[in-house]
Symmetry: C2
């Protein structure tokens, strides 16, 4: 029997605050940005994703992320703006990429394939059309990895099952915000095609 | 002779803080959001747009927008992150939609067509494929209007030359951030097609 699961249910997204590069290519843990939680959660909800992982090894930063999410999930925030709650309900806050993968395995009982994103051209990258087809027809769960700061480290890239091609605009300027990149990637992979 | 101007040069975008609805459908002026300046400027620069208008009738809010932009355009900010300067150089801060249109007429010497965006279905809306073709072949300058708060008012919609279809995701959740919506709209209208 054909698998009729909506494609988004097979897809999650993770925003890594570590390990990422800073401006001088040092490996750092970046600070949480409030609107990264909101915007990417809203995009994830729009395109029907299973979950959105906020990844940071810093306990205080995880506590802050929890506090922001809970403000909209409980009490006043939830009743003031239930649509925001629906988005933030997808958020899961973890200490590492391994923890996110372990959580996904436990939730979905399937192998997890890592789709790594970045702003630079990579050899052997997959196109959006290819990846769209992969997500629609594949039987695994797919985790899209986004980096903060100056991007994901080589260590993360070396773990990729798939390297997603960078988003190209009109020229060689490739400095979208991670929030914008996430939105465009989800739209290209999961948005309506008849547009 | 065929017009070889890159399409983005014929397109600008405006973020209206007035007139927009609040949660209770009252017409209000919303407050500036720092990341609206940055993210939409970076998306506009990526897709080669001519300019990005921040529209607010409140003088203090215009002064704040100027101060944020200038931080990255001059002195320390410009040398710390020249890519951010390149994006924010597209920003023009005006008091009203009429002022944005007058400025565009003066800059480009062409009639200005208004493309209005919103999250709700509208009768007679144009698809992304149709609008992409329009921008590529048209001889006018096109201004894409985005609303803050709970969206642009009927008054703004009544001025539209074109109503752009809403972005559809996996279900009926249509609460993208304006930053995400701007990114997806620009990618659909001006991004690479072989993807």
């Amino acid at each position: 029997m054909a698998d009729t699961t909506p494609t988004g249910c097979k897809v999650s997204i993770a925003l890594l605050h570590y390990p990422v590069y800073d401006k001088n290519r040092q490996v750092v843990a970046t600070a949480l940005t409030n609107l990264d939680l909101h915007d990417i959660a809203r995009s994830a909800r729009t395109f029907g994703l299973a979950s959105y992982y906020i990844v940071t090894p810093i306990p205080d930063q995880r506590a802050l992320a929890c506090r922001i999410a809970k403000h909209w999930q409980e009490g006043w925030g939830a009743s003031y703006n239930p649509k925001r709650k629906a988005a933030l309900d997808l958020v899961r806050i973890v200490a590492s990429l391994d923890e996110a993968v372990a959580d996904l395995v436990q939730c979905h009982g399937k192998p997890i394939k890592l789709l790594v994103t970045g702003a630079k051209d990579q050899p052997n990258s997959v196109t959006y059309a290819e990846t769209r087809e992969l997500l629609a027809t594949g039987s695994e769960h797919y985790l899209i990895l986004l980096g903060t700061g100056w991007g994901l480290t080589e260590e993360v890239f070396s773990r990729a099952d798939y390297l997603l091609a960078p988003i190209k605009g009109a020229g060689d300027y490739n400095h979208l915000s991670v929030r914008s990149a996430a939105s465009i990637i989800l739209d290209r992979l999961l948005g309506e095609r008849d547009r």
